[in-house]
């Protein structure tokens, strides 16, 4: 002890405090590291899927009779997408003057050639590799932004497969999920928190809701299959069935978070409202709900993000299958983003590897956008009520 404010015990207490602080910091750093590694891994695998290779070839439309392949030089046929070649007769249909012409066109490269051009693993034969190298020198190969990824549905050909039907399916499913989950969840929470008498029945219901929040999501898939598809006869694999099932799945989470948001509104506000001769609903509507809204929104967005990423229950609803066409109605069979990622990840072709990672990036992008939306909404509410 050198001065009156020093003691051995104080040093010991400070050391403990420092130890806790540094451990916590280490944990934060570790979590960040995982996140960075994960994002870097996905991004480095996936970024190349946002471009697609095209090869400049001569097409002799006059040769097209039955087999459109003959319109293209034999050696080029092996590096060009079969779907692109099969589409050539359609070009003539759209523009009959092409019929007897010979034209140079940028043709979509097939997946193996594309992978070779991008420098990924591929099964291209050595003579085709040499061909690509030659074409490269002649500047007959270019990489363009991959619009197919955003305009096409799934395909057996990796180069022709896109994420569009999954994105559209997810949006339709999520809209139904929210239409089901949000109003029912918030109303249940308001009833339980503001109106219901605190008795055995209410406690029993609350315990069950809390338990439901912990039920594995695949069981909700079983429920959806049994009730919506088998009992009510709704169309299988549709956005309607998926949305309803996910809506039920997120209900308990919305109820629990909304209830705790309502509970955090100070009781003095309610007392003030009641003392002014307002009915219970007027008090809830006028004061309690606006104050609880930021919390309710946060909970809803979290559960929404969970619903977007959910795959297991959709498996039982038939949504994890090959789905080339985008749905137009909610009753059409569709797939969703998470299901499409799952499908692609199990495909054998090399071309699907980068597409899987790109799909994950898009899914993450959608979630980040949603979270930002939630944060903006919440801060706007907070500003309005000066919290």
């Amino acid at each position: 002890m050198k001065h009156p404010f020093d003691s051995a015990q104080l040093k010991k207490r400070q050391r403990k405090s420092m130890l806790f602080k540094s451990t916590a910091l280490l944990m934060v750093a570790l979590a960040l590291l995982f996140l960075v590694v994960f994002l870097f891994n996905i991004a480095s695998k996936g970024y190349s899927a946002f471009t697609q290779s095209y090869i400049y070839v001569t097409v002799d439309f006059s040769k097209i009779k039955n087999n459109p392949r003959v319109a293209i030089e034999r050696q080029h046929r092996r590096v060009i997408s079969n779907t692109w070649i099969r589409n050539l007769p359609n070009l003539i249909k759209e523009n009959p003057s092409l019929k007897n012409e010979t034209k140079k066109l940028w043709a979509l490269a097939n997946s193996e050639a594309d992978q070779y051009i991008k420098g990924h693993d591929n099964k291209l034969k050595s003579k085709d590799k040499a061909l690509i190298e030659r074409l490269k020198k002649e500047n007959r190969i270019k990489r363009k932004f991959n619009t197919i990824l955003f305009t096409h549905g799934d395909s057996q050909m990796p180069e022709n497969s896109g994420f569009f039907s999954a994105i559209k399916g997810t949006i339709m499913t999520i809209i139904i999920t929210m239409l089901v989950g949000f109003p029912i969840g918030v109303m249940t929470a308001i009833y339980l928190q503001e109106f219901a008498k605190d008795n055995r029945i209410k406690q029993f219901i609350e315990i069950n809701i809390n338990n439901l929040a912990a039920v594995p999501s695949i069981l909700f898939g079983l429920l959806g299959l049994a009730i919506f598809i088998n009992f009510l006869g709704m169309p299988r694999a549709s956005a309607l069935v998926g949305g309803l099932t996910l809506g039920i799945m997120i209900l308990p989470i919305i109820i629990v978070t909304a209830q705790s948001a309502l509970r955090s509104v100070p009781d003095s506000i309610r007392q003030a409202g009641f003392a002014m001769g307002l009915t219970r609903w007027q008090v809830v509507r006028g004061f309690v709900l606006p104050l609880a809204m930021p919390g309710i929104l946060t909970g809803s967005i979290i559960s929404l993000a969970q619903a977007i990423g959910e795959t297991a229950p959709l498996l039982l609803l038939g949504m994890i299958t090959f789905m080339p066409d985008a749905p137009t109605l909610v009753t059409d069979a569709t797939t969703v983003m998470s299901a499409q990622i799952y499908t692609w990840s199990s495909m054998p072709q090399n071309g699907y590897i980068e597409r899987t990672s790109a799909a994950i990036l898009i899914l993450l992008g959608v979630m980040v956008t949603l979270n930002l939306l939630a944060i903006t909404l919440r801060s706007r509410f907070k500003k309005r009520f000066n919290l």
Binding site: I269, A272, M276, L278, G286, F287, L291, N386
Partner: protein, 253 residues
């Protein structure tokens, strides 16, 4: 001063769960007077106050027997809606609790809901009158659209009184309205209460004996849920009839 009866409490017993809080309270409260309830903490004076506008019913374990008759009607009769009671019996709380809305809306909101005024000029006038009555108008007339929570504690409490008188009640109950405020703000509220006496019948719960002495016409002293003594202010403070009252006033147990 006229002494016609406004509120008549008869044989009021009140339980929270199994614990009896109020024991057989009977008293008459007179028109256009300030009646003060005094007594130590937990003596039931706030509970009695809240029985007069049926606020106790918000607590589920609460059970009440007896009657509270206002203007000849028992407010605990089956055909009386407690919401209607609270509209005519306003209440001001210990902690200022303005609504999380603008100053203007704090005064106007309930009045509009009750259909006392319509949106627009009529409503503006009501807000102005009420804020003038609580001596707040000059301080807030330029910031009516701002949040009520931005006001000081004393201003918030005056705003709470303004919003209560905006719905035009008969009786105003005040539960220790100055105890959370500094002495200057408290003084303003006291003056305000006295000025409202002509228009409203006021019942105030207070811990501050000086305050009761200054503003009250009648004073009731409670102990452990029993009404011990109820008399005009000067009589109770100068010549208390009961030993318990005397001890309390002198600060002895």
């Amino acid at each position: 001063m006229s002494s016609s009866i406004k509120i008549s409490i008869e044989n009021l017993n009140l339980w929270y769960d199994k614990k009896q809080i109020l024991h057989n309270i009977s008293m008459d409260i007179f028109q256009n007077q300030i009646t003060a309830f005094i007594g130590s903490s937990g003596c039931g004076k706030s509970t009695l106050l809240r029985s007069i506008n049926r606020m106790n019913e918000l607590i589920e374990e609460c059970r009440i027997e007896g009657s509270v008759t206002i203007d000849g009607k028992n407010i605990y009769d089956k055909d009386v809606d407690e919401v209607g009671v609270r509209q005519r019996v306003g209440m001001v709380f210990q902690q200022p609790n303005p609504f999380p809305k603008s100053i203007y809306d704090n005064v106007a909101y309930a009045a509009k809901v009750h259909g006392i005024v319509k949106k627009g000029k009529e409503c503006d006038e009501l807000v102005e009158t009420c804020l003038k009555k609580v001596f707040l108008w000059d301080e807030v007339k330029d910031i009516l659209k701002e949040q009520a929570t931005s006001l000081s504690g004393g201003q918030q409490q005056r705003l709470c009184i303004a919003r209560t008188i905006a719905i035009n009640p008969d009786i105003i109950l005040m539960d220790e309205p100055t105890s959370a405020l500094d002495p200057i703000s408290g003084g303003h509220i006291e003056e305000l209460i006295v000025s409202l006496k002509e228009e409203f019948h006021i019942i105030i719960v207070t811990h501050n004996l000086k305050q009761a002495q200054r503003i009250a016409d009648h004073v009731a002293f409670f102990d452990s849920g029993h009404l011990i003594e109820y008399a005009p202010s000067n009589i109770l403070f100068n010549t208390p009839q009961k030993r318990q009252t005397e001890n309390y006033l002198r600060g002895i147990e």
